[in-house]
């Protein structure tokens, strides 16, 4: 069960009692470490469990569970403002997903294969969103739109989200592209394909699992994103996470428990799906011949 590797090859034929004792000690699981880890998991899931539990509370309280009820879910479904926000968030996520996946996959292909100075410059540009805190990107995007005289709206959120999602797609895809064997593309071209056909018919299908996984992940991240949306959204209809932010700043609103539970469940499912997608296609993305080593 434990991972402590037994030095079987080097161990003497008949271990002394001392080594045996030491080995027994190594095999004993350290109780303190396991207790700390258990406590960590408990505290990690407790807030999520609390939100989920009290979303089914029949009363408004966040401390006393009074009885099971779907009243807050019903309140959410009948809240036109929240439903409009949900639609806005879904549209933003879909557009940002499509835009950033197209740009990000192309960028990943180019970055891996292009060994010019322009390529390394592009690699640097790509890193900037990853090391800039969200509040800075939020402020910067808002200033850019204001400076250009573009009124803030759902469209500006979409543009900002695309900009900052490209890097994530590229980071996910880059290692996959690097693992592909370029000779397969060469072979396709020897068989008469143009460079573009080789990319489209050979490389892209091999990348499909990673592309799908990154698309699902970006959808979830954009849907959940708050800071960037907060700085770039217009007045109406605001994305769901911005609404949640305004709501939780002003005290307990049980409807938010219901919305939050649905959002948590949705994004946990999507992120788990993103992790799982590559397995659906088999370990190596279904096309063994294309993986480099």
């Amino acid at each position: 069960m434990t991972l402590v590797r037994m030095p079987s090859a080097t161990a003497p034929a008949s271990p002394t009692s001392r080594t045996r004792a030491r080995r027994a000690r190594a095999h004993r699981r350290p109780r303190v470490l396991i207790a700390v880890t258990g406590l960590f998991f408990a505290l990690l899931y407790l807030p999520i469990a609390v939100v989920a539990l009290f979303s089914f509370n029949s009363q408004k309280s966040l401390t006393v569970f009074d009885g099971f009820s779907l009243r807050w879910y019903r309140a959410f479904v009948h809240d036109d403002v929240l439903i409009a926000s949900l639609g806005t968030s879904l549209r933003i996520s879909l557009v940002a997903m499509a835009g950033s996946v197209i740009l990000g996959v192309a960028l990943a292909l180019g970055l891996v294969r292009c060994r010019t100075r322009l390529g390394s410059l592009a690699g640097l540009v790509m890193l900037v969103p990853l090391i800039t805190p969200e509040i800075v990107t939020g402020v910067a995007s808002m200033l850019l739109f204001k400076g250009l005289g573009v009124p803030l709206s759902t469209a500006t959120v979409m543009l900002a989200e695309i900009t900052f999602s490209i890097s994530y797609v590229t980071v996910i895809l880059r290692s996959r592209v690097a693992a592909l064997n370029p000779e397969v593309e060469e072979a396709a071209m020897d068989l008469g394909a143009t460079r573009w056909q080789a990319v489209r018919l050979v490389t892209l299908p091999a990348l499909l699992p990673a592309v799908l996984a990154s698309a699902v992940l970006i959808f979830a991240l954009v849907f959940d994103d708050f800071v960037l949306a907060y700085f770039t959204t217009g007045v109406d209809p605001q994305p769901l996470s911005v609404r949640i932010y305004s709501a939780i700043r002003f005290g307990v609103q049980p409807t938010i428990n219901a919305v939050g539970t649905l959002m948590l469940a949705g994004s946990i499912a999507l992120i788990a799906l993103a992790l799982f997608i590559p397995r659906l296609f088999g370990r190596r993305g279904g096309l063994d011949i294309l993986s480099g080593k």
């Binding site: 609390v50 292009c114 390529g119 402020v139 990319v199 700085f231 994004s267």
Partner: protein
């Protein structure tokens, strides 16, 4: 024909090749340069800009925004943000190390599942998680009730509305960024090294400090940077867990752009935040470069 002149064909293909990769790279790079680099430059320009009588930003050259940063009210907030962010880093390291260690060395075939069980909820909605965390830490929430039951807290002990609450929020928000690099480093760690330490009569403590810890130092350094960056810029934790007396630089920036309408000052504060983070990043890069140089020697 083709066989007789392979070189020209290959050359043509290579030329085509580079061109297509450049073309693929261009849209994304131009998009990001246009939006991101341009907007960051705009922040810098506006930090020395002015506002007209309606509060709209005007370009110009006025150091009022920059000079205002020296105001003790702002330096105090900056010092507090730095303190909270650094404390968050240390606490994250202290929590993440045993967790990552346990999973990497004792997780067995459940390793991947356990790490996934940490990572997946962390990337779910940040706001909802922080909101749930503030409920858990509230005056009659489960954590304080449990602490009171075992006598570690009395009726007057509070977590929310204090600096401790803000740090607790930041830790809960970003500890995953410490766990991932540490786990990666510990997973790569050759367990026979630890055994060798034990074989050389090092006790568990000495083995840990002379073998395990040095081998995972880079993972810890990466984790510290990954936690420091978002913790320094966060404004949700201070708002939900700290109240008005515990604001961080993120809250100031938010205030200058939304309530205060002082955009030059907001931009100057944003530049200041970037500067602090840049110093942190450079420190990290120098550290890792030194480590690499030592490893090569």
């Amino acid at each position: 024909m083709a066989l007789l002149r392979p070189s020209s064909r290959t050359r043509r293909r290579d030329a085509n090749g580079t061109r297509i990769w450049t073309w693929l790279m261009l849209p994304g790079t131009l998009w990001m340069t246009g939006f991101l680099i341009a907007s960051l430059v705009l922040v810098a320009v506006l930090a020395v800009g002015t506002t007209d009588e309606l509060g709209n930003p005007r370009f110009g050259f006025d150091l009022a925004g920059i000079r205002a940063l020296a105001d003790p009210a702002y330096t105090e907030v900056l010092a507090r943000s730095l303190g909270y962010a650094l404390l968050t880093c240390v606490i994250c390291l202290l929590i993440a190390y045993p967790v990552a260690y346990t999973i990497a060395l004792y997780g067995g075939r459940y390793k991947h599942a356990l790490i996934a069980a940490i990572v997946v909820p962390f990337f779910a909605n940040y706001l909802v998680r922080m909101y749930g965390w503030s409920v858990v830490l509230s005056d009659d929430g489960p954590v304080l009730s449990a602490l009171r039951a075992i006598g570690l807290a009395d009726a007057g002990t509070r977590i929310l509305n204090s600096g401790f609450g803000v740090v607790a929020g930041l830790v809960y928000g970003f500890v995953v960024f410490m766990i991932i690099p540490l786990y990666a480093a510990l997973e790569r760690l050759d367990v026979s090294l630890i055994e060798a330490g034990r074989d050389l009569y090092g006790g568990p403590v000495r083995t840990f400090f002379f073998v395990t810890l040095p081998a995972t130092r880079q993972g810890a350094a990466a984790g510290l940077v990954l936690v420091f960056l978002p913790a320094m810029g966060d404004f949700v934790s201070a708002q939900l867990m700290g109240g008005p007396d515990q604001i961080m630089i993120g809250n100031l920036i938010q205030d200058k752009f939304f309530q205060g309408q002082n955009w030059p000052l907001g931009s100057a504060l944003t530049m200041l935040l970037m500067l602090v983070l840049l110093v942190g990043m450079l420190g990290y890069l120098r550290r890792t470069r030194k480590d690499e140089a030592e490893a090569l020697r």
